[in-house]
């Protein structure tokens, strides 16, 4: 009989569940790399690409062809034109290659001749290639530095436990798990609903990273405490006890975070919806991974048995370490 609370013994089922969520995301990333013109795992926004983004609100209905012909008259042959929001609102988004500031202004003036523009809801963004490459570089450096810093911090804070390094590595594994899930689901949405990732996506990823570690540390901390208080018990039993003891807190905190993020998602500004959605996915994954990935992995490492299917080692042998 499958017992839900035997988390550590049944770890293979939870690992399989994680893989089932991660795999489609990874496939979506690969699919995007192949199909997108930028060959990136996600559709990139203007934050990462050299180019311009026009968001224009006309006060009268206009057709896509009218907008296209304005851009073509400036020699921009393949602008990506999409309608935003309700058709009655006449809001359009146009993505183009990089355009000098003054010429962009001329295009805007030319668009205003097609139909009067609502100046308050019209914006032009541009990013030159120099910024774009710096963004990507800084992002990669930030992720690597953050991961190493957290790895060292956990190693240090568990320095009194046996094999503190294993806790560190498993926390990082859980972290990669959460990043993969959040990034993978974003890739799926990127392929299905044309989601574009911007600088906020990186903020979301780094926040997911922080909260993943925060959850894992709370569970680890209980293991650390129980290891000193219950010297006679087997390692696996101490771990299971710690998981169950912190389960209430994990679920409560997770629920509260879900309340906060759902409120933001439903009622917050449109510009942060995607950001909040990624955070929500990452946060749920973070709670899951601290219980069902990080800790079972630590046990798997100590028992040298990833799937928990080996003949049980006499428990005293582990407890007596």
């Amino acid at each position: 009989m499958f017992n839900l609370f035997r988390i550590v013994e049944n770890r293979r089922y939870y690992f399989i569940l994680s893989l089932l969520v991660i795999l489609p995301g990874v496939l979506a990333m690969i699919y995007n790399v192949i199909t997108l013109p930028t060959h990136t795992p996600w559709r990139l926004s203007v934050d990462f690409l050299p180019g311009n983004r026009f968001e224009v609100k006309f006060t009268q209905p206009v057709s896509e062809d009218q907008i296209r012909s304005v851009f073509q008259s400036f020699g921009i042959t393949n602008p990506a034109i999409t309608r935003l929001g309700d058709p009655a609102e006449n809001i359009w988004q146009v993505r183009t290659v990089f355009i000098e500031g003054e010429r962009a202004q001329e295009i805007r003036d030319a668009l205003a001749k097609v139909a009067p523009l609502d100046a308050n809801s019209t914006q032009i963004q541009s990013v030159s290639p120099a910024v774009a490459s710096q963004v990507t570089q800084a992002a990669i450096i930030a992720v690597v530095v953050a991961t190493v810093a957290i790895l060292l911090f956990i190693w240090w804070s568990f320095r009194k436990a046996d094999h503190a390094f294993r806790y560190s590595i498993c926390a990082i594994a859980a972290l990669i798990h959460d990043i993969l899930i959040a990034a993978g689901i974003t890739a799926i949405f990127s392929a299905l609903f044309n989601w574009e990732i911007d600088a906020l996506f990186l903020t979301a990823m780094l926040t997911v990273l922080g909260f993943s570690i925060q959850d894992t540390i709370v569970v680890y901390d209980r293991i650390r405490e129980n290891l000193t208080r219950r010297r006679g018990e087997s390692f696996e039993s101490i771990v299971t006890r710690s998981l169950l003891e912190t389960l209430n807190r994990s679920l409560t905190t997770s629920l509260i975070n879900i309340i906060v993020l759902t409120a933001l998602l439903l009622f917050g500004g449109a510009s942060i919806k995607q950001f909040v959605a990624v955070l929500l996915i990452g946060m749920i994954s973070g709670t899951y991974s601290s219980i069902f990935v990080a800790v079972p992995l630590v046990v798997a490492w100590f028992e040298r048995d990833l799937w928990g299917t080996k003949q049980r080692v006499p428990q005293a042998a582990i407890a007596g370490k």
């Binding site: 308050n120 963004q125 910024v131 804070s157 449109a270 955070l279």
Partner: protein, 467 residues
């Protein structure tokens, strides 16, 4: 109540009242505003500063464009930043932000400004200033010329290219290259004034380290023209009438405004580094107003949801945590006002996440408290044990989030993503305040409640504690 606990309660209430006074939109007398002496005089209004995405406006990213792609020194960038700040302040924009980003960029945010031309004016007026040798033929104002500095980055009669090749002036036959004598950074100051005949002039002083060069040059070139050139365009072409070293004056047929403007260009236009506009972003104000309203609603709903949840789950301690939460929010917002932190949309998101962290600390404590009660401790002992045991978890998890915040902050600073930086600032401040509000405020409230009213609570334990 023990004396220690009483003092803690007083501190809590004092902080609460002061923060509420700062945050609530009541009119405040000037002497109160002037208490925040570390803020700039112009912005001392004790109001939460709204970022560009909330308020609408223009964001301009300027990048250094030294000849040959050379890297500017930190001093050069800092003085360029200060000059642009002066210029922007001269434009009369309220609460502008002028920050250095990375090693060679300057971010300018002009809230409430929607005119893109203003950004272009800004860069034009802060262009590269040169003093150019025009020989005996003064150039008409407005002439576009090539100079040795703009072409080769060289000063004072360079005869060779940076690559070592000699300059072949015949390459520019019919399109003369003028020799740059000095750049704008030799000037100490420039002010409009009147000469003895009551004509408008511009008085200037030369920085001490350049006075000897300037004296030698004006001696050699007496009665020749020295054009003042901004971004390769002649703005005035006075003739050297005397050997000058420390100071001098420029006369011409200036109107009063003309002399004023020339003085402005000479003082603020003398950028140590040439800059180009890298990106500009217009952010619509209506978009912003809508975002504020929506985020406030979202925040209120989230707060009510959390409080209802906490009270349903933890009963009496849940009520205490509602007080702690209000304390936490008021103190955080007061800090945003005092520091000051400019609030952006991601900043609000960071703040709300720090609220969740503050609640999490209370959850950790209350869960421990229940465990200790179930374990058979007395209430008073359970309160102390709960805080003691919950502390390592709270400490370690918050430190890890602070590490992430520090990395986000650096990351946001590096490429001018003020949004990312705003998120890191509000989240990290929130985490520090949440540590205080859970370990100090919640503890004080729990101690008072569970030592003063221990018997009453014990009698209705099932209802008040749910244990």
């Amino acid at each position: 109540m023990r004396q220690n606990t009483f003092i803690r309660l007083l501190i809590t209430l004092l902080l609460l009242v002061v923060s509420a006074y700062i945050v609530l939109p009541t009119p405040k007398p000037d002497f109160v505003k002037n208490l925040v002496f570390w803020q700039e005089v112009r912005g001392r209004d004790l109001q939460i500063k709204q970022g560009l995405d909330l308020k609408g406006g223009l964001q301009v990213l300027l990048a250094s464009n030294l000849p040959g792609g050379a890297q500017p020194t930190p001093e050069q960038m800092e003085s360029a930043r200060r000059i642009i700040e002066d210029r922007v302040n001269g434009l009369g924009v309220a609460e502008p932000i002028i920050q250095q980003q990375g090693e060679d960029r300057i971010l300018v945010e002009l809230p409430g400004v929607t005119d893109r031309n203003l950004a272009i004016d800004l860069i034009k007026q802060t262009g590269q200033l040169e003093f150019v040798d025009a020989g005996f033929n003064p150039l008409p104002e407005g002439t576009l010329i090539s100079t040795t500095y703009s072409l080769y980055g060289g000063l004072l009669f360079p005869n060779t290219l940076p690559t070592g090749k000699p300059i072949d002036e015949s390459l520019h036959a019919g399109n003369q290259v003028y020799k740059t004598a000095f750049t704008g950074d030799i000037l100490e100051s420039a002010t409009p004034g009147l000469d003895s005949l009551g004509r408008n002039v511009v008085n200037f002083t030369i920085k001490p380290q350049f006075q000897e060069d300037f004296r030698r040059y004006t001696g050699e070139k007496l009665n020749q023209a020295m054009c003042i050139v901004l971004d390769q365009r002649v703005i005035s072409c006075p003739t050297i009438r005397a050997v000058l070293s420390a100071d001098g004056s420029i006369s011409g047929n200036f109107t009063r405004d003309g002399a004023n403007n020339l003085a402005l260009v000479l003082s603020y236009g003398s950028l140590p580094v040439p800059l180009t506009i890298e990106t500009t972003r217009d952010i619509g104000a209506t978009l912003g107003a809508d975002s504020i309203r929506r985020s406030l609603v979202a925040g209120a709903i989230a707060l009510i949801g959390m409080i209802v949840f906490m009270i349903t789950r933890y009963r009496l301690p849940g009520v205490l945590s509602a007080f702690t939460l209000v304390f936490f929010m008021l103190v955080s917002l007061a800090l945003f006002v005092l520091i000051p932190v400019t609030l952006t949309l991601p900043g609000i998101a960071g703040f709300l996440l720090s609220v969740a962290t503050a609640v999490d600390a209370n959850v950790l404590i209350f869960e421990r408290f229940r465990e200790e009660l179930r374990g058979g401790r007395t209430m008073r002992a359970a309160v102390e044990a709960a805080f003691q045991r919950a502390w390592p978890s709270i400490r370690d998890s918050n430190i890890s989030t602070l590490i992430t915040c520090a990395i986000l902050f650096v990351f946001g600073n590096t490429f001018g993503a003020s949004a990312v930086r705003g998120f890191a600032i509000t989240l990290s401040l929130g985490i520090i305040v949440s540590l205080f509000s859970s370990m100090f405020v919640t503890r004080t409230l729990m101690r008072i409640t569970f030592s003063e009213q221990a018997e009453t609570i014990e009698a209705r334990r099932a209802v008040l504690l749910g244990v």
